[in-house]
Amino acid sequence: MPAANLAYLVVLEARRGGLPWLAGAAIVLSVGLAAFLSRIALTEGALVQASAVAASLRLCAAFLIAAHVASSVLREVNDKGLELFLALPLARPVQYLGRLAGFVACGLALAAAFALPLLAWAPPAAVALWGLSLALELALIAAAALFFALALSQLVPAIAATAGFYFLARSIGAMQAIATGPLAVPSARTEFARWTVDLVALLVPRLDQATQTAWLLYGIPEPRAYLTGLAGMLIYTLLLTAAGLFDFQRRSL
């Protein structure tokens, strides 16, 4: 299985690189921050800790996977390693999917590692659901980072594009709420802005509905809402993979 071999190489590179150390540092720093916050919280100490750890670990995980994917792919491009692989009798989709599978596996490992500390403050079922959602979220970000890295061919633009996409996906719900809120003055420009936000919302995933801290604090989500969120992420990961394959197929490397 050539794709599986490629995925294994990607995971091996991540393991031998700094990713496990960075993940460990992120966990230590997040737990340390939570311990500090719990000292100054006057009430809800455990909830303050759980929410701070969950929110910071989620952000760290997204950044780590995006930076790792972009730097790994672009190092390979700059070292001409990608050209070497393309000279092998392997179809481009196999190469692309093999790499993506490796990065998704890295995301799964990160999600599992980042969910574990939350067991100190939240019930196992809630942590498991949160971890599964984070794993899919990281798979989506890995697919986005791979797409942007190959499309933009530069490290900073690739990370910036992935970060911008991620923050947009996490805040699009709030943007829609503001655009349709009672404070919005009815006018042609407001209508246009609302229409634009709605259009953008059609094109980005609703990551504000995924990996919610509320599940850890107030109990597990409704199954229907949870599964809808997971399905949305899977569909978008499929879209990004298709877009990446399309771009990789037509690119002259």
Binding site: E44, S51, A55, I178, L207, L217
Partner: protein, 238 residues
């Protein structure tokens, strides 16, 4: 695999430069006083929608972190009594926005009832208690402890029995969850008793006993004795 050159390869002037730069940085930072957030520093409250946007879809964590930020205003510095100089209109705006951001969170109401309402300034205290009452009506079964505390503050700290009765009555009327303890639902009876409204108190206590909501035999006996005592006192007062 790259190998670093030994430390001895670094020239002495570079060691010196590094040490001087580090000492300069530490000395500079020790000159800068630690900043405390004063009452007048409290900015106007943002809307819940703006906060939701800023928290990137993490309203629960954002609301708690914002509460920690909010509670640091006017906590120390030149004020002997914390929170007494705060602009309470802005403060309540913040508490309202944070409660809207995470309606299930208890921190804003805890802070309102247990911290900001306990300042020795009755006008400020009353404003916050009114906020607690208003917030209670949105989710009585979850927020009753804070209104119950508000009733106690109104009675003992402000000495305003009608206000205490209004809050106690709201708890009794709106909090329907079985988790609401009996003492919270009986508060109005005892406040009425303190107000000298013995007849009203006995009618209310009798009504409470008749609902059949009290099952504990010890509690039933105590309340029946209390009812008999109230009726006796009401008759004597006539």
């Amino acid at each position: 695999m790259t190998h670093d050159r030994p430390l001895s390869s670094v020239p002495a002037w570079l060691w010196l430069l590094l040490a001087v730069a580090l000492a300069l940085q530490v000395a500079w930072q020790t000159r800068v006083p630690g900043r405390t957030l004063e009452a007048e520093d409290l900015p106007p409250a943002p809307t819940a929608a703006a906060l939701r946007l800023a928290t990137l879809g993490e309203p629960e964590a954002g609301a708690r972190l914002a509460m920690l930020y909010l509670q640091s205003f006017d906590l120390r510095g030149g004020n002997d009594t914390p929170y007494q100089r705060l602009d309470y209109a802005r403060l309540i705006g913040w508490l309202r926005a944070l409660l809207e951001l995470d309606p299930r969170g208890q921190y804003p109401l805890f802070a309102a009832a247990r911290i900001y309402a306990e300042v020795p300034d009755s006008a400020r205290s009353r404003r916050v208690l009114e906020f607690v009452h208003e917030a209670f009506l949105d989710d009585p079964d979850r927020r009753w402890p804070w209104l119950a505390h508000a009733a106690l503050l109104a009675k003992h700290r402000l000495g305003d029995l009608p206000l205490a009765r209004r809050y106690a009555a709201a708890v009794q009327r709106h909090a329907r969850s079985p988790a609401v303890p009996l003492w919270a639902r009986q508060m109005e009876v005892f406040i009425l008793e303190d107000m000298g409204e013995l007849e009203a108190a006995s009618i209310m206590l009798g009504g409470l006993l008749e609902t059949g909501a009290i099952h504990d035999p010890g509690e039933l006996r105590f309340l029946r004795e209390r009812l008999a005592e109230l009726e006796q006192r009401a008759r004597t007062a006539k």
